[in-house]
Symmetry: C2
Subunit: 302 residues, 2 copies
């Protein structure tokens, strides 16, 4: 399973029972949390997310609608007796904010909090089956987007061709990793003669908050699923630029430029009660667009 | 109107769709917020509380279920363009916590935040028609309860007896304030001959978190309405003491000792799904008890 569950789709001031940004990415039985607006722990309970499985938390930036729920989530993890280490990635100042509050409450923290300040673009998590990288976006304050890439699976043994060579089966794992085989006589059996490529890894990109920035399209090129903020409708381009946010058309244009397979838009301004027009407008530019609907899970396809 | 609206009645980890502590006290068209757990701004929206009217916020202590919603509420007030000063009372460290986060977001704060650290017992707000005092409670960390006292109304002119004296009507306001009248001839007309006492002011006490402490009964003696935490059922006295909380019987016993008119209990532990038994147990000791039900408003009677 590789998919994303939307816990909040609203920007800034809560409205119409929509919640601020938070998303759970499930990848091979591990859970990653992207942003954690106020009330995220209630949304986690509502949608029956398994708290204990959240190993990584990524905070895009220090506007409250992206992280005010973090301290409550951590505190509840403490009260519930979590033992596994928790990895948090975000702007450097977030560490002070967390520990000032944990200390003020004299909180007993029964697990290790491993905080990594984000300072430059690149891979920040390198797990066996996936990586997470971050990239800077253009927002009113320091902000980052994130990119989860499933690692390409090992190559498959080509059962037809491998019969032509005498390769010990004990060596098959190294073939799957892409190595050539050299016989005792010094003959090289090229890897591609006896293996075939497996399906490529899937990928998910989370834009963070950003004004329209073609560089984001470069960073998320070809991903399977892109979440891009779309705070405003297309007519509000001036407002969007002024507030370092994007419109429907801009989000969809990034998806188009990046050649992604599917787009989700969210972070809707509280001025809009109805969201259908967001979908209509984005689809004018990029057909395979969906709204970030709270509670919905989007499976990421090969 | 003098009353309290319950926005959250749960302790610590959210459960059963109950929210952490927050209460709005309405007194003569002014709103006071007592504690502000995570999600309070959503509860304020849900129960159609008029944000702009909140002039005073009181935070009992720095456990997260009593204040993690404060920074989100303040931030939303900023985004909504509040202009009136906001008065916040709480433990000294709360100021650092607020401003660290406002600064991290480069928040524009279009109104004055007047923070008063609570350091000792006594009156902290003295308004024309009411006062707010605080008192220390016994909890795992520094914690306070609060007491809102409506000021006694001016005395009323006794229309029957005043006819017997020649007192200029211009002097009536001073009579209402309790002064005697002295005639030109030096004769003293005693105030109580010509005025009668008005109804006494009503009062509301909010316990904060506390273990069973007879001193709290002293502090809230005779109030019209007492909210006292009751985290546990009566059988859990040991647990309550260990965690610096109270049981149903303890809360009701404080109400009885203090001779209050009515008791509300809340701050229920997340271990309890059903709350009826809280009510039954408390009423064994103090009959006029009610559960803190989210969204309910209790008018405070003379």
């Amino acid at each position: 399973m590789f998919g994303v569950t939307i816990l909040g789709n609203n920007s800034a001031v809560p409205a119409y029972n929509r919640h601020p940004t938070a998303q759970i990415v499930t990848i091979h039985d591990q859970l990653l949390l992207f942003d954690c607006g106020e009330g995220t722990q209630m949304q986690i309970a509502k949608y029956k997310i398994r708290w204990g499985k959240i190993k990584y938390i990524f905070i895009s930036h220090l506007h409250g609608d992206h992280y005010f729920g973090l301290i409550g989530l951590i505190t509840s993890m403490c009260l519930l007796g979590r033992e596994d280490p928790l990895h948090i990635y975000g702007p450097a100042l977030l560490k002070d904010i967390i520990f000032l509050q944990l200390n003020a409450a004299a909180t007993t923290v029964p697990f290790e909090i491993i905080f990594t300040p984000l300072t430059s673009d690149g891979v920040v998590v390198d797990e066996k089956r996936f990586t997470v990288a971050c990239f800077a976006t253009k927002h009113r304050i320091e902000c980052r987007g994130f990119l989860v890439r499933e690692k390409r699976k090992p190559r498959k043994i080509n059962k037809d061709s491998i019969q032509n060579y005498h390769i010990p089966t004990a060596y098959y794992d190294r073939l799957k990793d892409g190595e050539d085989y050299v016989t005792k006589e010094g003959e090289v059996i090229k890897n591609e003669w006896v293996t075939i490529e497996n399906s490529p890894g899937r990928s998910y990109a989370f834009s963070g908050d950003t004004l329209y920035d073609p560089n984001v399209a470069e960073m998320v090129k070809g991903v399977s699923l892109l979440y891009h903020e779309s705070t405003y409708l297309k007519a509000m381009g001036d407002n969007a630029a002024k507030r370092f946010h994007s419109t429907t058309h801009q989000a969809a244009s990034i998806a188009l430029q990046a050649g992604v397979s599917k787009l989700i838009i969210g972070h809707f301004s509280s001025k809009y009660e109805l969201l259908d027009v967001f979908l209509q407008e984005a689809r004018e530019v990029f057909e395979n667009t969906y709204l970030a609907t709270e509670g919905a899970t989007h499976r990421i396809q090969f």
